[in-house]
């Protein structure tokens, strides 16, 4: 696979998109060619496929001083092209459009993806460019149009099926589990199902219980599918492209609150490996595993933690199924402490599976039990205050790290 670059996700966002507890400080990230160090800024640096070591980072000292950089700086990459800045939903659209240009078999199906441009504008303009059959506006019948996508995939097309909200895909569970996941196996390998099932999920801004669901926990047991979660414009485009090119059925989880993240991404063609995790912030004291929106809560907590003298290593696992046990394992072997921060429910969630996987594989390397912070096992309430307490907040992350690092 050529040009597998991943990581280096740099995110800009305004605080208004977060349910954040604290400050008015903006997370401003300079581009990769301009890694100047300034106070009160932090840089999210990425890594290449786990082969680099991060010895060149700043060492955290347990001092009273405020450390200017929350994250180790990478050497300035002068060979990088200038890139262009866009929002996450535009990155998804760009990825989708590029793949549709590249391969005429790629098509889109979903509710309001065509003329309306997608309820989160991910497919905006595509119907005008590619026509109504390639960007198909379906009636409201998730089970049937997901099945239709699967049948089309079996007969040679590469559909990208959009669930207007991930929760709606519960109606398509039959097709996703029985057909999408299983048909390659039960047909003895005769038929491949190269679909991408994507859509926004997660707890938004007072959307109510049914529109705030996290389906990754429900789908994770289905054999035969891969699940990835994007969190930055860079990895959104990269994962979208990789998912479309993959021969396996892939479910791409997006988050409602992350669509307006802004970042500069490369101009050239790139994909993000579907099975790899992303090193967000290398560190020494504790491994924090997270994905999707919780990445930003973790990074916010990381700022506080760094000021308190801790050096957390933050990994965006990205691949929810299968887990990248190599990146995670290397981190555990280094820090010996693991905290999982997720938006999934506590019961049977991704964190639960990850805890089990880490305990099974890296038990000897742990100095403390794996701690998992997940959302409360409640239907997401409408009220703002209650909703805030349903998901993990940065303050809880800070407390948990302090507890684990005692």
């Amino acid at each position: 696979m050529s040009s597998i670059i991943h990581g280096a996700g740099a995110a800009t966002t305004t605080l208004s998109t977060f349910n954040s507890v604290d400050s008015k400080k903006l997370f401003v990230v300079p581009s990769r060619t301009n890694l100047s160090v300034r106070s009160q800024r932090y840089i999210v640096a990425g890594s290449d496929a786990s082969k680099k070591n991060f010895g060149s980072g700043l060492r955290v000292r347990h001092s009273q001083k405020l450390i200017p950089n929350a994250v180790a700086t990478k050497e300035a990459d002068t060979s990088a092209s200038t890139g262009h800045e866009l929002l996450l939903f535009e990155a998804l659209q760009e990825g989708l459009e590029e793949e549709m240009d590249r391969d005429p078999h790629v098509c889109v199906m979903g509710e309001d993806v065509g003329h309306y441009g997608g309820s989160y504008k991910v497919t905006k303009g595509l119907a005008d460019k590619f026509g109504d059959l390639r960007v198909l506006d379906t009636p409201i019948c998730e089970n049937a149009f997901t099945g239709m996508g699967i049948g089309a995939a079996m007969t040679g097309l590469r559909p990208v099926i959009e669930g207007m909200n991930m929760g709606f895909l519960l109606l398509a569970f039959n097709q996703i589990s029985n057909n999408c996941g299983m048909l390659h196996y039960t047909s003895g390998g005769q038929f491949t199902i190269p679909v991408v099932i994507r859509g926004p999920g997660g707890v938004g801004r007072q959307l109510g219980a049914e529109h705030s669901q996290r389906l990754e926990s429900y789908f994770q047991s289905i054999p035969g599918i891969q699940m990835v979660a994007c969190s930055t414009p860079y990895n959104a485009k990269g994962l979208m492209k990789a998912a479309i090119r993959s021969e396996n059925p892939v479910i791409l989880f997006e988050h409602v609150l992350l669509y307006n993240l802004k970042e500069k991404i490369p101009d050239e063609d790139y994909i993000c490996n579907l099975e790899e995790a992303e090193m967000v912030r290398p560190g020494e004291h504790i491994t924090i595993l997270t994905y999707s929106r919780m990445r930003y809560h973790v990074m916010q907590a990381a700022k506080t933690l760094v000021n308190k003298g801790y050096d957390p290593e933050v990994i965006d696992i990205r691949s929810l199924k299968p887990f990248d046990l190599h990146t995670i394992g290397n981190s555990v072997k280094k820090t010996h402490r693991v905290l999982i921060v997720e938006e999934c429910m506590r019961t049977g969630g991704i964190g639960a599976s990850l805890t089990a996987a880490i305990n099974e594989n890296f038990h000897d390397y742990l100095d403390a039990p794996v701690m998992c912070l997940s959302s409360q096992d409640v239907p997401t309430p409408y009220a703002g205050t209650l909703e805030e307490w349903t998901v993990v907040q940065p303050a809880q992350i800070v407390t948990a790290v302090e507890q684990l690092c005692q």
Partner: protein, 431 residues
């Protein structure tokens, strides 16, 4: 060969909303209101029967009573519905279906195959009637009662029998079983265990065909035929797909094999309006009801439906009145069905009916039919021998085919992809 009606007539005369005037244009006589279609259900009285039929023949789509008209035509201009070659082909296909299923029953009771096995005895006319009109690139989607659909589509008896025995040489390498017959070569898209599950897949295959024609600008006339039962017609997926197929004018034919029973649930006890063909016009496609015990009638309707689809005029819903001579599956004691009902349909055995037609119309000699039967017997025996002799799947096959790209199993703790681990390919690795 002359047909009872010109190909376009059927389309023209199946109005979206049945009207009296249109019906009168039909050259075909309707079946009488007290048709045996509704089957015998003890609780149904004559009055309720009449109420159900509305005794208003104008509301119905025509029952295609091809054989009657053929008899008329015969005396008129001596033309038949099929040629000798076609007749022999149809006969052979139906005999293959029947012999194969009978052999399956034997093998099941001898402990060679396990699980749920659903046999197709009695319904052969539907499979043969439709599938023998298709080309290799047309697709067929079926349900768990799929052995004969696979055979009609061209999957070899050996491959199907091996699959049933769970051997490596089966069409799905032993991984699918009775309810999952797939063949990429013959475009048999399964084989689905849950009812209604295959209908969206069939819709997708038809969508693919339309996409190829209109977006990729390829020469694609492929149609898809979806087979399913009366029980499925109460399932949401059925209606969702009728809607989409008619909306996008997909080249698909929905074939309802109405054998009146869904395991032990009579169609009449489960359905508010038991006339399934009526549901077609509700979605904007023609709905046709045909005698599914007569392969020639089915074939005539199928011809029109397939031609319609190939011309790009959209889907058709065909309800075939048929019956399964055996229970729902080999585990079904089949105690609920009336002996009288079974006897009535046994008298309408499609194979016997075709044989009678072929001989009466002097198309074939009895000896030719006998030789076909012998040939098929040998073929089925050979298939069993082949399946018996084939090896069972090895441990290494367990983890194959889960993913088309086995990188989907992820990266192990050592940094290598799990699929590269030699223990993995042996099937002994933990996943």
């Amino acid at each position: 060969m002359a047909t009872a009606f010109a190909p376009t007539k059927l389309t023209a005369t199946v109005p979206l909303h049945g009207s009296q005037e249109n019906r009168l244009l039909l050259p075909i006589r309707l079946a009488p209101p007290s048709s045996s279609f509704l089957g015998s259900t003890r609780s149904l009285t004559v009055n309720s029967l009449r109420r159900l039929n509305h005794s208003n023949a104008t509301r119905r789509s025509p029952v295609v009573a091809v054989q009657e008209v053929v008899k008329e035509k015969q005396s008129a201009n001596n033309s038949l519905l099929i040629t000798k070659e076609e007749g022999l082909e149809l006969y052979e296909d139906m005999i293959l279906g029947r012999s194969f299923e009978d052999m399956c029953a034997q093998m099941y009771y001898r402990g060679k195959m396990f699980g749920f096995v659903h046999l197709y005895n009695g319904q052969e006319a539907v499979s043969t009637g439709f599938i023998k009109l298709l080309t290799k690139s047309d697709s067929v989607v079926s349900t768990y009662r799929d052995h004969v659909h696979a055979l009609s589509k061209g999957v070899s008896a050996r491959a199907v029998m091996s699959e049933l025995f769970g051997k490596v040489t089966g069409c799905c390498r032993g991984q699918g079983g009775s309810m999952h017959m797939f063949s990429k070569e013959h475009n048999m898209l399964g084989g689905f265990a849950f009812i209604g599950e295959g209908i969206p897949v069939a819709t997708g295959a038809a969508f693919s065909s339309k996409y190829r024609r209109e977006v990729l600008k390829q020469d694609c006339e492929d149609v898809t035929v979806a087979f399913f039962g009366d029980g499925t017609c109460n399932n949401g997926q059925f209606y969702e797909c009728l809607n989409m197929a008619a909306l996008y004018k997909l080249p698909i034919i929905f074939v309802v094999e109405n054998n009146l029973w869904a395991i032990g649930m009579s169609h009449l006890r489960a359905t508010s309006d038991p006339e399934i063909w009526k549901k077609g016009p509700a979605f904007g496609m023609p709905g046709v009801h045909v005698d599914g015990m007569d392969v020639l009638k089915v074939r005539e309707v199928a011809k029109e439906a397939v031609t319609r689809a190939r011309r790009g005029e959209g889907p058709t819903l065909v309800e075939c009145e048929t019956y399964r001579f055996r229970g729902h599956s080999l585990a079904d004691p089949d105690e609920l069905r009336d002996a009288a009902e079974k006897a009535k349909y046994a008298a309408r055995d499609p194979i016997a009916a075709l044989k009678k037609y072929l001989i009466e119309n002097k198309l074939v000699k009895e000896a030719e039919l006998k030789s076909i039967e012998k040939k098929i017997d040998e073929l089925v025996e050979e298939a069993v021998e082949f399946a018996d002799a084939s090896p069972q799947p090895g441990r290494s096959q367990l983890l194959e085919n889960v993913f088309a790209d086995p990188k989907g199993f992820g990266i192990g703790p050592d940094g290598r992809y799990r699929c590269e681990d030699p223990k993995f390919t042996e099937g002994t690795a933990q996943v």
